[in-house]
Subunit: 199 residues, 2 copies
DNA sequence: CGTTCGATGTATCGGACCGATACATCGGGC
DNA sequence: GCCCGATGTATCGGTCCGATACATCGAACG
């Protein structure tokens, strides 16, 4: 999950850890409150070991802009740049639409956040998969509320009702997005200003 | 988190792992889809080591009812019973209203699910703490939407909007619950049929 | 009658992610 | 001159998840 998110952000521009976390928080803030450094830094090191990202400025760009002068001490800010292999990996992860994509809030949120760079067919598959998942959950809650309501106290009942309401709302939201997706009226800016693969 | 949930369920009646998971799923199904055995069984063992629960039927009850006859093979079903210390521990956890109580969905959900056995003052503190947390999140989303809207693509924007909507809805829900709580018109069954401490 | 299949049931392992914590630098206000 | 909050990198222990394995039981199906 974090892997996709990090690659996606570094695909837009090189960044160091702190900035990465801030961007992660604002872009995915709707689904998770904040990403912990305890997961961010280990993941960064793993991505680097796998060759998807590398330390330092991108090879094409001169590294002299402004990231170096600030580090007077020993442990300066470390800028991470996505590699060519990393970009391929990103596309691969983007295209994946397995259960891990819609099972968790976070998983769906991250994929959705990069929908502008996902091809339309995959977008549709992810939205429909997510809808199916939420519908299952909704049915489960309805069953509990209709069949076992008398055996639960009022607070638990209220919790279920609130959960059911949220499910119904999300399903309606997804329906709308799916409909938009089908007739191309996507709420998305035309790809003119974002040429899909700028490398 | 799991600790509180398990103690709460075992407080109602002794149970084995499988049944525990099912109850967990229906009672807390509004917040988490299902609890994994990978967390359930280790937690059960930890609780047993700490002395909060014990294997076998409760000391007061004859264990002959129906849990023993089914185990013909070697590894039969293991019934867990809450101990007296476990009940104290449960009360202690119930009364806690720290950040861990409202920070995560799951944490809040579990506490809320046992509100019928929580004292009114704690209920109010937890609801208000949760509201505060969700309001902060809501403000963060509003800031992003008003200040950085033009720098985000339409999908990310839509995600934020949906998140903001969910936050506003939850705040309203909490307001209602808090109001009910304050003038005693709680949607809760009077404590007559559940004498708080039946041991 | 055997067999297969789904529900019931216990259990472990690796991995993802979090929360707390530590430490270091820098700019600005007092 | 000093402290404080924002910036910045990093680790550690712990919680929980997902996949997997394995065993029993009753019912369905040939």
């Amino acid at each position: 999950m974090l892997e996709l998110a990090i690659l996606g952000l570094l695909h837009e521009s090189p960044m160091h850890g702190y900035e990465l976390r801030k961007q992660l928080t604002t872009k995915l803030g709707a689904f998770r409150f904040a990403i912990s450094y305890g997961s961010l830094y280990p993941t960064l090191r793993r991505l680097q070991a796998d060759g998807w990202i590398s330390e330092g400025a991108p090879p094409g760009m001169p590294a002299s802009t402004e990231e170096v002068p600030l580090l007077t001490g020993k442990r300066g800010r470390v800028v991470y740049t996505i590699t060519a292999e990393g970009k391929e990996r990103f596309q691969e992860l983007l295209g994946a639409a397995g259960p891990e994509t819609y099972d968790s809030e976070a998983g769906f949120g991250v994929h959705f956040a990069f929908f502008a760079r996902t091809d339309p067919a995959t977008r549709l598959r992810i939205l429909e998969g997510r809808r199916r998942r939420v519908e299952e959950r909704r049915e489960g809650l309805r069953d509990v509320l209709s069949r076992a309501a008398e055996r639960l106290d009022a607070y638990t009942l209220e919790l279920q009702r609130h959960g059911l309401d949220a499910c119904e709302r999300e399903v309606r939201w997804l329906e709308e997005l799916i409909a938009n997706e089908r007739n191309g009226t996507t709420p998305q800016p035309p790809s003119a200003q974002d040429p899909e693969r700028s490398s």
